[in-house]
């Protein structure tokens, strides 16, 4: 299958439209992620995170995983970023530039991140140099297909996950409740 797909595609020099769109959105996503981890304004970091997560949703759409794309928009852009903004405001994060957003070990962190990025990219490119994704045919992740496989093959993990979400809900309430007098 891989060889046939390789023969059908022509290579790096004549990318398809989907590939061009993927690379452009990927560059925007990566840039937003870089700004998220380097900006000195804490609220701006959360807002750039919206751009990065939204770009990833577009990448899922380009990979024909529609349902995951919309779940990404709903869960991450809709609720996780709002939670993070609430957290920033409840911890009285400074509005505007804060000089101590980065800790002292940022150069060590930069070295570790650059080394792991180099190693991972080298290994990944070397391993998947001749591998192509066939995006033709019916969408792999349409809502119909997702519902079918989720409730046909993955029912038990799904239910276990709902129990985990309930436990997380109870845990968050217990942790964030103000301590009463009787527990002091």
């Amino acid at each position: 299958m891989t060889l046939a797909a390789t023969a059908a595609h022509s290579g790096f020099l004549s990318p398809t439209g989907v590939e061009i769109a993927f690379v452009l959105v990927g560059i925007a996503t990566l840039g937003a992620a870089l700004v998220t981890v380097t900006t000195k304004q804490l609220v701006h970091a959360a807002l750039w995170l919206v751009v990065a997560l939204g770009g990833l949703a577009v990448e899922y759409l380009l990979l024909t995983a529609e349902f995951i794309a919309w779940v990404q928009v709903l869960i991450y852009v809709g609720s996780v970023v709002v939670l993070l903004l609430f957290g920033l405001m409840l911890t009285k994060a400074p509005i505007g530039r804060s000089p101590d957003a980065d800790s002292g070990n940022r150069w060590a962190a930069l070295a570790v991140a650059a080394a792991s990025a180099g190693a991972l990219v080298w290994v990944v490119v070397d391993a998947f140099r001749t591998t192509w994704i066939d995006l033709d045919g019916p969408a792999r992740g349409s809502t119909e297909a997702t519902g079918s496989f989720l409730f046909r093959h993955w029912v038990l993990p799904f239910e276990a996950l709902s129990v985990l979400l309930l436990a997380a809900l109870v845990g968050a309430i217990v942790l964030s409740r103000k301590r009463g007098k009787e527990q002091s």
Binding site: P15, L84, V112
Partner: protein, 133 residues
């Protein structure tokens, strides 16, 4: 589509998140970087699911489960950060070195919670001022 594109993008996003986790000082920014790393893993799962055409759709199912677990994780993590901030007046990870609470402000009785909160916040602010000075 060439499989290297999503794989390389996921690797770079993961390393961006790794840098953020190691270099950030505010605990909430560390949580944001963790979200970036989880999203990189999700992108890998979706790309490999589309490539391998698994009949069980294991990649997409695991991506959905990862999203749910990440939502639970961010809820619990923010609750912990808020509790730490309420008790110590700071959410900077490299200033939280003690496992026990030794601040003088902690000696206040618990029923005067508002005053304790203000006192702790004032102590934290003073510490921050002397750290930036």
């Amino acid at each position: 589509m060439h499989l290297a594109y999503p794989a390389v993008l996921a690797a770079l996003l993961f390393c961006t998140g790794l840098y953020g986790v190691l270099a950030r000082r505010n605990a909430i920014l560390v949580l944001m970087s963790v979200e970036l790393m989880l999203n990189a893993v999700n992108l890998n799962l979706v790309a490999f699911d589309v490539w391998l055409r698994d009949t069980l759709h294991a990649g997409q199912a695991l991506a959905l489960f990862t999203i749910a677990i990440a939502a639970a994780e961010i809820g619990i993590g923010l609750a912990i950060v808020l509790a730490v901030y309420r008790n110590r007046g700071s959410s900077d990870v490299d200033r939280l070195r003690d496992t026990a609470e030794t601040d003088a402000a902690e000696a206040l009785p618990d029923d005067e919670y508002g005053t304790e909160d203000q006192a702790t916040a004032a102590a934290g602010k003073a510490k921050k001022a002397e750290a930036t000075a």
